[in-house]
């Protein structure tokens, strides 16, 4: 029988965490910002078909960074859980908290049990009454709830710092989009055109299904005032 070299549990977990973090930091970041009508997700995504932000249920949305095939699998599993639960009980019984816990359990289980951890970081947002609940789930299953805004992905720390300054409770949707873009641009230290942004969110003023997606044209026109201001400042 071949001898396996001894690896301490601490070392094994650390190696897995490093591996997952490295995978996640290769991708682009996504931010969620609460605004007066709900919550807005903004992410840099050159693809217009392979989405990072998605509808899960009436009041619940999902965003992810990291390895696409892995979070796509988690996204579909979340939709299945939500639809099956809403069918068996009632639509209002499907909550973001339960979904976030399911994701945390799945990621935590995979992190400890399997050879390769998921290289993903997830956000689950829910419109609950007048407020917004934001859950942040990491590759190892750790979960936290956030207030107002949160960034996930490789540059999350730098983006969060910038958002902390720009965030104002009760911002309009366009203001939220502008500050999210500025935070992304500032952290990445390069320009990100409107056509490279994937923007979607939850709007409590919509009907049963609160999820919406902004077209590139709508994103460009929402960002236009901020751009005019920036160029005016540059002219001066």
């Amino acid at each position: 029988m071949p001898m396996m070299p001894y690896v301490s549990p601490e070392q094994a977990m650390k190696d897995k965490a490093d591996y997952a973090r490295k995978g996640i930091s290769r991708g682009k970041s996504v931010v969620a910002v609460a605004y007066d009508g709900g919550v807005l997700f903004v992410g840099e995504n050159p693809s217009t078909t392979l989405r990072k932000i998605s509808e899960i249920y009436d009041r619940i949305a999902f965003a992810a960074v990291g390895k696409y095939n892995e979070f796509e699998q988690l996204r579909v599993a979340g939709i299945r859980l939500a639809d099956a639960k809403g069918y068996q009980y009632a639509r209002e019984d499907v909550t973001g908290r339960a979904l976030a816990n399911a994701y945390a359990a799945a990621l935590g289980g995979a992190f400890t049990e399997s050879f390769k951890p998921f290289e993903v970081e997830l956000l689950v947002a829910e419109i609950a009454g007048d407020g917004v609940e934001l859950y942040h789930i990491l590759y190892d299953g750790s979960i936290g709830d956030e207030e107002g805004f949160v960034a996930i992905g490789g540059s999350a720390e730098a983006i969060n710092e910038r958002l902390k300054e720009a965030f104002r409770p009760g911002m309009s949707r366009d203001q939220a989009l502008q500050s999210a873009r500025q935070a992304l641009v500032g952290a990445e230290d390069r320009q990100i055109g409107a056509e490279r942004l994937e923007v979607a969110g939850l709007d409590r003023n919509r009907g049963r299904r609160k999820f919406f997606r902004m077209t590139p044209a709508a994103v460009a026109s929402a960002l236009a005032p901020a751009e005019d201001e920036a160029s005016a400042r540059a002219d001066r």
Binding site: T49, R51, S54, E55, I56, N69, E70, Q73, L74, V76, A77, G78, I79, R80, L81, D83, A84, G86, Y87, Q88, A98, N101, A102, Y103, A105, A106, G109, A110, E113, S114, R209
Partner: protein, 276 residues
């Protein structure tokens, strides 16, 4: 709480990611059968005597006009010769671009409408794009076919499906039989115990150049004619203010006519028929 599906390993042999070529992946009813078999209505298949006759007599009509399609249903539910409900909803929004009208046994029929609507939303969310109109009709046909064992015991469900295809900009109507046969109708269709009378009425009044208002009037007249002849189809209930449910699906999506608008059209029909 456990995530349904192949996470982390559903034993599919494809490892942690499940079977990527699973044909039933975007299907909600397949998910229910797999995960919550007790909740799925279509799996009941015991023998024994025919189920009690809680069959809902109904008339559902649909009519395609230039820019869309109207679908309407009466509001009466019967149990034998007893009127068991007067304000029953038999026309349901399936998704933004389609509606399903149900006739047959009330319980399984409403269940089918509910699963069907969830099915369409589920597919749209998983795949990122809605099913084509024909795809929706085929899915509904499969659900009727799955119900066949129940139908053999008397719990027949026969839906009527109407929708608008925003890609082709055409409205289509699909009729079904109890065995899951699916038949597309170009102009109008009806189902339920009063369906024959409604069809005669539609046949007499249909013109290819109907507009939205005229199409709504025509289906209200057809429901009136059906209620006039069929005891299991309810006419407008002026005393309680219960009117047929009329829905329109066009380029703007699904909308239901409000009670006030239907009441006015019903009054016009009544005035036109006085003495006949």
């Amino acid at each position: 709480m456990r995530l349904p599906g192949p996470l982390p390993d559903g034993g599919s042999g494809f490892g942690a990611m499940g079977d990527p070529f699973d044909l039933s992946a975007p299907s909600f009813s397949a998910l229910l059968r797999r995960q919550v078999p007790d909740a799925f209505a279509g799996t009941f298949s015991g023998g024994g005597p025919a189920a009690p006759d809680h069959v809902e007599g109904t008339t559902i009509v649909a009519l395609a006009y230039g820019d869309g399609v109207v679908i309407a249903g009466d509001r009466r539910a019967t149990s034998g010769n007893v009127i068991s409900k007067r304000d029953m909803r038999k026309v349901f929004e399936a998704d933004r671009w389609s509606a399903v009208g149900i006739s047959g046994a009330a319980g399984p029929a409403m269940e089918m409408a509910k699963i069907f609507a969830t099915e369409l939303e589920h597919y749209e969310k998983v795949e990122g794009a809605p099913l084509s109109l024909e795809g929706k009709a085929n899915k509904l046909a499969q659900m009727v076919r799955v119900n066949l064992p129940l139908a053999m015991q008397g719990l027949v469900v026969v839906p009527l499906f109407a929708g608008y295809d925003p890609r082709d900009r055409v409205a289509r109507i699909y009729e079904f039989d109890a065995a899951g046969g699916r038949y597309e109708e170009r102009r109008f269709a009806s189902t339920g115990s009063g369906g024959r009378d409604a069809r005669g009425s539609l046949k007499a009044r249909y013109r290819p150049d109907l507009d939205r208002a005229a199409a709504a009037d025509t289906v209200i007249e057809a429901l009136w004619d059906a209620a006039d002849e069929d005891s299991a189809t309810g006419g407008p209930d002026l005393v309680r203010g219960i009117y047929p449910l009329v829905a329109v699906i066009d380029a703007d999506g699904y909308t239901e006519l409000d009670d006030q608008a239907v009441a006015e059209r019903v009054q016009a029909v009544i005035d036109g028929r006085r003495g006949r």
